[in-house]
Symmetry: C2
Subunit: 194 residues, 2 copies
């Protein structure tokens, strides 16, 4: 249950066995089914979430009912609404289970206390925030500069294991291109590869 998390934590930073035990003890373990919601818009986000097994999506529903996917979180990934969690404000995001999953949940209070007492966790968290910031800027640059073909190719390169787990219309939603455009692109690529 905690293997994947501990492998990630200890890959770059030195944790003692006691520290890892404290992190495990602070977590709530939850088995969840496809279609369950871990956060709904209008709620305050209560947890930072680590996906031990499965796949989540974090998305926003526009007034016109269209769904826009901010993040896919496969096993080994994190998700939350950081602003809602930190500021205890209402979220406009939803977090939904895409495949039956096991998630590890820490409240803001528990996680803050762990981060403040475990220097390696502080360092890991800082690295994670930096990575999120860098990849956000990369994604913004891609959003404003790349063609639809380039966006799809970047997705294939960045998330090769998601291509067969996520329906095409959700990839289109994540990339901000129309479903029709993405169908055309994939069709053209399949033709080329034959």
């Amino acid at each position: 249950m905690f293997d994947r998390l501990e492998a990630l934590l200890t890959a770059q930073h030195p944790f003692t066995a006691d520290e890892l035990q404290a992190i495990r003890s602070g977590a709530q373990v939850r088995k969840v089914r496809r279609k369950q919601l871990l956060l709904q818009e209008g709620e305050v986000c209560l947890y930072k979430m680590f996906v031990a097994e499965g796949l989540l999506k974090t998305y926003y529903i526009k007034d016109d009912g269209s769904e826009h996917i901010l993040r896919f979180s496969p096993e080994g990934g994190w998700t939350t609404d950081a602003r809602s969690l930190h500021n205890q404000t209402v979220s406009k995001l939803n977090i939904e289970v895409m495949e039956d999953s096991v998630v590890l949940l820490w409240t803001h209070e528990v996680l803050s206390s762990l981060v403040n007492t475990i220097p390696a966790l502080q360092a890991y968290t800082n690295d994670l925030i930096s990575q999120n910031l860098y990849s956000s800027y990369e994604r913004i640059l891609s959003n404003i500069s790349a063609t639809s073909e380039e966006k799809y190719q970047e997705f294939v390169n960045n998330y090769p294991d998601l291509i067969n787990r996520v329906p095409l219309h959700m990839i289109a939603s994540f990339l901000g291109v129309s479903r029709e455009t993405l169908s055309r692109i994939r069709h053209a690529q399949l033709k080329q590869s034959h």
Copy 2:
């Protein structure tokens, strides 16, 4: 020269006079002219930059020669290539002066040392990183979900003072919409308001 910075720093966090003096002493003050470059792609970014007066733009040039603007930094704003600065890797971004400006520059080494010895600066920096992360996610959601009209309206709401300082084609570049589309939108709005 440092008034705007100190007002920002002390607005939310308690700094002593000595701490503010240390922050001032660590800065290089540079007067720069329109069109000067503070960072060019292919270089390692050497500084975190605060705009005391003027206006900078941070942008990426695609292989086809098109320019894509990641960030406008008017007086009171920060910019850098965080990844390049932290990891001492080559940047693919450019930072250019749009209006004659006064910028304050700290090297990564000096700033790290200040952050590590001044708790209020640590707290300010953490808040700034959080704000950058939240606003990046907002921008990604806007990029993938908003119509061109909505994107322009968000820009007007978020940066009312930039509308008359930044040419329309640069706003289009920042928003990731075509210049023609943005001209049409602004024209329609001007007609409506008469």
